[in-house]
Symmetry: C2
Amino acid sequence: MAYRRSALMEERLASNRQRILEATRELIARGGLRDAQVSAVAAEAGMSTGVIYRYFKAKTDLFVEVLAEAVTLEIEILDAICAGPGTVTERLYAAVESFVRRALNGPNLAYAFIAEPADPEVDIARIRERKRFAEVFRRLLAEGTASGEFAAQNLEASAACIVGAYTEALVGPIGPAREVVADREALIRSICAFCVRAVGGRTGQS
Amino acid sequence: MAYRRSALMEERLASNRQRILEATRELIARGGLRDAQVSAVAAEAGMSTGVIYRYFKAKTDLFVEVLAEAVTLEIEILDAICAGPGTVTERLYAAVESFVRRALNGPNLAYAFIAEPADPEVDIARIRERKRFAEVFRRLLAEGTASGEFAAQNLEASAACIVGAYTEALVGPIGPAREVVADREALIRSICAFCVRAVGGRTGQS
DNA sequence: TCAAGAAATGAAGCGTACTTCATTTCTTAT
DNA sequence: ATAAGAAATGAAGTACGCTTCATTTCTTGA
């Protein structure tokens, strides 16, 4: 034998893979899933088109992985908020606020992951990932209803509704037909307040 | 000259156009936007592929028109409920219930219009159509806040949230990865109750 | 340095589906 | 009946973009 992967090579391969993922994320953030063709991803990563397929079985797998990575990151943030101090209501408010705020800052990335159409497999993945979001809220709702802070309700349905509510409220502001948001802070407060009211929580905020 | 459209011909052309729209709607309802290729639409309508382009500039225009037509129909129903008898809370509940119930009955049509992948123009149309839904709820909220039945709130944001909430709650049940809904009626009640609570309305339902 | 195997290249292959267009068929007025 | 113009046909044209693969370049161990 005359070739066996060295540690250095192993590292380089891993970094290539990472670069592809990053290039994909970058393109999606810039122009949506639509602009992340395999050849464009390769160009962005400074590689040839064909090499993508050495790292990913198909374009779909690449997308799914980028999506999952981004969601994992979001969820870590949400989980931290949920595990933090404050009443359940306060934490629910903070969790929604945190997500919405970040979505408004990185428009296309959030939009793509939440709402942009893609092929069936990516779509299925997106729904799966949304469920991960819903699960975070479901746990928070469970805590709130157990403590009596929230009204009795169908936890799964309410969790899905919360995710849907702030998502839809964002689609206008960040979607492909972008609108001017007169007052970001007011919008954020409104969305959060809606969600809190919806679960039967009480807050001083409007 | 030796040819001028007769009234009969005019009628036939109009009916052809209608048949194309119906064929498209039928195909979408059966298998989603995915299954509504131009050639399939033509086959379903019993026409040749090329003739579609005598009636519609492009496939996108066809889709957009079908979407708009379907939404118009939905909105008429919602409007009737909003204009009907009962407290604002009751009418809000009934409006959401009506939409959700119909969506659960015609899975693919609703899913296609809500969430299925499509090209950018259809997407923009879909967002526009969603806004028409939101507008219906906005008016209801205006009435409810004016009468003091609902809490003071950002009407646009809350309306969007309502649309998003029931939409997302439906994506699981009707999406491509269909789930069994243990109890449809309970799901419907949960979604409606969520929306009512969210706007600060009061209802005896759980 | 050299050979063997791994990895990268990028143009060509390929599938899908929208759109066009030369031809055919139908409709109307004389 | 006939001619002119409209409408329909459907196969071919075209575009797009994922995926492959023969070839080239690079990496490793002897």
